[in-house]
């Protein structure tokens, strides 16, 4: 007699745990051909707030880790992903409607992207920092620092590579993240949460919510304890404008959706620089 499969109930990833939505809601997720895959948790405003609280606590832990340690942890994420490569390939192929070989290439690129960003953690301050030759008897230097809690609206269609491309740079800088996963293709994000939970990423450094972007993003954008928001996954100009206006109330830094951005290409520094602050320190020189 054939064995019945154990069906998975998908949940959120907040503060290192996997809670259901406090609202108790869920929504059906289908594959590319419209077949039911699973129910995913449908996060609420309260879940957004809980996630921001968790991210603030996670920021303290994650940003105080050494850059070397953060690099090791991000590399560990790549290692754990590699171990679950087949699962990611199956999920990306099913959700995005790709052949296994195509999906495999996207998963490989996603894993390599973590490695790329892992290598950046302890080089950013050298590349983006400065010793400033001020005209006076002072030692003056500038260092990049993580801006804090970053809200990330993940790309809608690139369910894994797109997601990694927006999340990895945020974590590489030492920021913590609250990610709104692709509404229609959330499964790779949920699996990535399980990877993060087992990769020494501190609880709260990365939080992943599934649900309606149009419902959740305004709460994230207007939250006073969110320092920056990445609207890469917001393709609707009217919603993007509304979110940017909400962010303006507390001068939250905004990264806009750029239709020309090729997430498959080697990223460059812009996603790292966008969530960094530059701090300049002066001290007198004398005997």
């Amino acid at each position: 007699m054939p064995r019945e499969q154990i069906r998975k109930t998908y949940k959120l990833y907040v503060g290192g745990s996997f809670p259901r939505s406090e609202s108790g809601r869920s929504y059906p997720v289908t594959d590319a051909s419209g077949r039911f895959v699973a129910n995913a948790a449908q996060a609420s405003r309260k879940d957004v707030r809980d996630a921001v609280v968790a991210a603030r606590a996670g920021f303290t832990r994650w940003s105080s880790a050494t850059a070397y340690n953060r690099g090791q942890v991000l590399y560990r994420v790549a290692e754990v992903m590699e171990g679950r490569r087949d699962q990611f390939v199956a999920e990306v192929a099913s959700g995005e409607g790709l052949a296994r070989r195509q999906a495999g290439a996207l998963v490989d690129e996603s894993i390599d992207r973590w490695v790329w960003y892992a290598g950046w953690t302890d080089k950013l301050a050298q590349v983006h920092g400065a010793a400033n030759p001020v005209a006076g008897p002072f030692f003056n230097f500038s260092v990049p620092e993580p801006t804090g809690v970053v809200g990330v609206v993940a790309p809608t269609r690139s369910s894994l590579l797109g997601l990694v491309s927006v999340l990895a740079p945020v974590l590489a800088t030492g920021c913590s993240a609250v990610v709104l996963a692709s509404e229609t293709l959330p499964v790779p994000a949920i699996t990535l949460s399980e990877v993060l939970a087992t990769s020494d990423v501190p609880a709260g450094a990365a939080n992943v919510l599934t649900g309606s972007t149009a419902e959740l993003a305004p709460w994230l954008a207007s939250h006073a304890d969110v320092n920056a928001i990445d609207l890469t996954g917001v393709e609707d100009p009217a919603l993007a404008t509304e979110l940017e206006r909400a962010a303006a109330e507390t001068l939250t830094r905004v990264r806009r959706h750029d239709p020309g951005e090729d997430l498959a290409a080697e990223p460059g520094l812009s996603r790292l620089l966008g969530v960094l602050e530059v701090k300049t320190v002066w001290h007198p020189v004398g005997t």
């Binding site: 006076g136 006073a224 830094r253 905004v254 812009s270």
Partner: protein, 486 residues
């Protein structure tokens, strides 16, 4: 306490020649405002009317932006960085040559002491142009790829606290990066910006590369909302910063905002007290406290509070308040009646909320806008004077016991522009500097500025940096498939 008497040492105002009225500087020429509206600018130390300036309206803003656009596409964006740099060097030299005149003009229009305009503002203005001139042909080294490009037309709005210096912070990097600009000086301090327009003519800067439109908040709004500006750079209040951030939503325009602050100046018990007192004075009474990065919250370790407050009061009693044109003057006039009213209101609130007020016993002149150096003790973190920006010579004193408590109190603000730390212990300086959430940290010093040193805030103090490689980057678009987030 007896003071040495000083004889008056007034700087001569004969070095400046202020016209009775000024037009708008658009397309390389002074033109009359379309609807003929004008307003006066006064000397805040005497309330004497200095001149009448134009109030730019919609048509004037359109003309200025059009002039900047045309200069961008026809001239400035086609010119090599090397040639652009020569113009900036030339401007730097002219500013240095005319520095005495500019210092006097600034003091007359702003009310700040001639000692500050002469020794701080104007030398830094020349230095900013000199520094950025050298960048113009080296943009590939900024860190944005080999061929970063300018935004195009930059709309720039500056405050009244360091009028010409804020102009330099805005115009020098914008031009070095290859942008053209439309700049609006503050309503109460337009004169040095108009003198700068003459300097642009004197330097033969191509017409339209720099346009200067005078006016108040409404003029600023029109400029911000102009659909043909590619970049907005603003220094001013957090309140207006929010409006600008809202205004650019949904537009391709990028903004950098340098906004308010409520900086902590933290004095540990092992600090060099005499130097710290000088630092406190420099931190909050420099420029009458009209400084966004002013160290307005003094956090002093509990064990030395009495000693520090006593020494501070003794020192404040020796400050000379009065004629800004006198070379001995330490504290000049408050910039405007509006600002004076705000400072008075907030000081009254401080008393009403239970803090203890002390003001230096100085005679205030009969005419003009004046406020004595004032210190509040018994201040709680919840008091408005400990939370809100006052932008005047008013200090709030709070205490702490441990470095962790100092840090928590210092960071307990929506702002994050600057902070000060005073201690002889090196590891503690670095620990504090690392954990303070502020864009500029002065350790065992305060309120120093340099064109090579990035300046700008965390959190609600705005975004973007001005000065140094990082400040220049704000006027460039990265040479990548994607742009750097603003």
């Amino acid at each position: 306490m007896a003071l040495f008497e000083y004889s008056p040492a007034p700087e001569s105002r004969s070095v400046v020649d202020i016209a009775e009225s000024y037009g708008l500087f658009i397309g390389g020429e002074f033109v009359e405002p379309t609807d003929g509206r004008r307003f006066t600018t006064i000397s805040p130390s005497s309330e004497e009317v200095l001149s009448e300036v134009a109030e730019a309206g919609q048509l004037d803003i359109d003309a200025a932006v059009q002039a900047a656009r045309s200069a961008y596409s026809r001239t400035w964006s086609r010119m090599s960085g090397r040639e652009r740099g020569k113009y900036l060097f030339r401007i730097a030299r002219i500013i240095a040559e005319r520095s005495r005149e500019l210092a006097v003009l600034e003091t007359l229009d702003n009310g700040k002491p001639i000692r500050e305009t002469r020794d701080v503002d104007i030398p830094l203005v020349a230095a900013h142009f000199f520094y950025h001139a050298g960048w113009a042909d080296k943009l590939g080294y900024v860190g944005l790829g080999p061929n970063p490009r300018p935004h195009g037309v930059a709309a720039q709005i500056i405050p009244w606290n360091f009028p010409l210096l804020m102009l330099a912070w805005k115009v020098a990097p914008a031009l070095a990066a290859g942008n053209t600009v439309v700049l609006k000086p503050a309503e109460t301090t337009p004169l040095t910006a108009l003198a700068f327009a003459e300097i642009c003519q004197q330097a033969d800067l191509p017409a339209g590369v720099v346009n200067i439109v005078t006016g108040g908040g409404e003029t600023g709004r029109l400029l911000v909302e102009s659909s043909d500006v590619d970049k907005i750079a603003f220094t001013g209040s957090t309140e207006v910063g929010r409006l600008i951030a809202r205004s650019v939503a949904g537009r391709p325009t990028r903004a950098t905002l340098e906004l308010g602050g409520k900086a902590a100046n933290i004095i540990f018990d092992d600090a060099p007290i005499d130097q710290a007192i000088e630092g406190i004075v420099r931190g909050v009474f420099f420029n009458q406290g009209h400084v966004c990065c002013a160290g307005t919250r003094l956090l002093v370790q509990e064990s030395i509070e009495a000693e520090v407050v006593d020494a501070l009061k003794r020192r404040l009693a020796t400050l000379r308040l009065g004629d800004p044109m006198d070379k001995n003057t330490d504290i000049g006039a408050i910039n405007s009646a509006v600002q004076l009213a705000r400072i008075r209101e907030m000081s009254d609130v401080g008393e009403a909320e239970g803090a203890t007020r002390w003001s230096a016993a100085c005679t205030l002149p009969d005419r003009g806008f004046w406020f004595p150096p004032t210190v509040f003790t018994d201040v709680a973190q919840t008091h408005r004077i400990a939370r809100e920006e006052i932008f005047g010579p008013v200090l709030s004193v709070l205490t702490f016991r441990t470095p962790e408590e100092a840090l928590a109190k210092a960071n307990n603000t929506p702002y994050g522009l600057s902070a000060g730390v005073w201690t002889e212990k090196g590891s503690r300086i670095l620990w504090m500097a690392q954990h303070l959430r502020a864009g500029v940290v002065w350790a065992n010093t305060f309120n120093h500025f340099d064109p090579s040193s990035p300046f700008g805030g965390y959190k609600e103090s705005g975004y973007g940096r001005e000065g140094g490689r990082h400040g220049l980057a704000a006027y460039l678009v990265a040479d990548e498939t994607t742009e750097v987030a603003r």
